[in-house]
């Protein structure tokens, strides 16, 4: 998946969570990049007609951007389901994020032939847990008082 697709996917998920435009800061946080890098890519997405940016409000995907984002999200969902269900990877969310840039859509489509994905995909994706809702997300370890004191 190329960088532009990773961005439109992240904007799409932030828009879903915030019910409105995605702020540059939140986008940079989600992708683990600097706000300057996020701004630069937002400019490129605007020039390709995939997103619109409004000062002080944030970035919103165009209809074309939404189609692209949903395709990218579907590819991501295939990677997560493949890791979790076929390779039995517990940390499938972190690994899907690492593999995302190296797994092409063509490859994901082929992997999809052995995955029992739901017809509702990519609406199955939960932006809060960053995972397909049909996958069991391991519980976050709870920090104890003693650990906090350390």
């Amino acid at each position: 998946m190329n960088t532009a697709d990773q961005y439109v996917k992240a904007i799409y998920l932030l828009q879903e969570m915030e019910n409105g435009p995605a702020s540059t800061g939140a986008l940079a946080d989600r992708l683990g990049v600097s706000p300057a890098s996020a701004n630069e890519m937002i400019g490129k997405l605007e020039s390709r007609g995939l997103a619109e940016h409004e000062k002080y409000k944030g970035v919103t995907l165009t209809d074309e951007g939404i189609v692209r984002a949903r395709d990218a999200l579907q590819t991501y969902c295939i990677i997560e389901r493949f890791l979790a269900n076929v390779l039995s990877v517990d940390e499938f969310r972190a690994e899907a994020g690492d593999l995302e840039p190296v797994i092409d859509d063509l490859v994901a489509e082929r992997l999809d032939t052995i995955i029992d994905r739901n017809a509702e995909c990519p609406d199955c994706f939960d932006p809060e847990t960053d995972a397909c809702c049909h996958l069991d997300v391991p519980a976050e370890p709870v920090e104890t008082e003693e650990q906090r004191a350390d």
Binding site: L99, L106, V107, E109, R110, L111, I114
Partner: protein, 158 residues
């Protein structure tokens, strides 16, 4: 790419892709038995594809072993292909050829991206880097030949 773990994971994905090709070719090959007239050219193409994927899988498994990781047994992937095959099986010879072309093109793209990522990375791995790249380049070239062979059969038939 930054670690043995990530490299092993990508090689495991390569193995699964080869297993999918092998299992689907086998299913297509079997489906030819029910066809009104057997097509020797397609039969030979599928037989060759299954054998080549098995050989690629073994080469990737050797690399995964060297990284102290595990491969996914072929039987597991074959069962998954079989379980999902009903919804994705080709209807006729042309569909079989398109599916085969998609198999070869996907594999080529996967190895090409992997070789590109390895060459762009400065990471050192628990296995010899030059040997790793040589193996992947050889497999990639065989996939490129596969794309050419399927395309030729498709062109001859049109």
């Amino acid at each position: 790419m930054s670690s043995d773990h990530q490299l092993a994971r990508l090689l495991q994905i390569g193995i699964v892709l080869e297993e999918v090709v092998e299992a689907r070719s086998y299913h297509h090959y079997q489906s030819l038995d029910d066809a009104p007239a057997l097509d020797p050219e397609i039969e030979s193409l599928l037989e060759h594809a299954a054998a080549e994927s098995a050989a690629h899988r073994e080469r990737l498994e050797e690399l995964v072993d060297e990284l102290d990781a595990e491969s996914i047994p072929f039987e597991e992937i074959e069962a998954l292909v079989q379980a999902q095959y009903g919804g994705t099986d080709p209807d006729d010879f042309d569909d079989i050829l398109y599916d085969q072309l998609a198999n070869e093109e996907t594999a080529y793209k996967f190895y090409d991206d992997l070789v590109g990522a390895l060459r762009a990375s400065e990471a050192t791995f628990g296995i010899d880097r030059d040997h790793l790249i040589d193996v992947l380049v050889e497999i990639r070239e065989e996939e490129a030949d596969g794309v050419e062979e399927v395309t030729k059969v498709m062109n001859d038939r049109s």
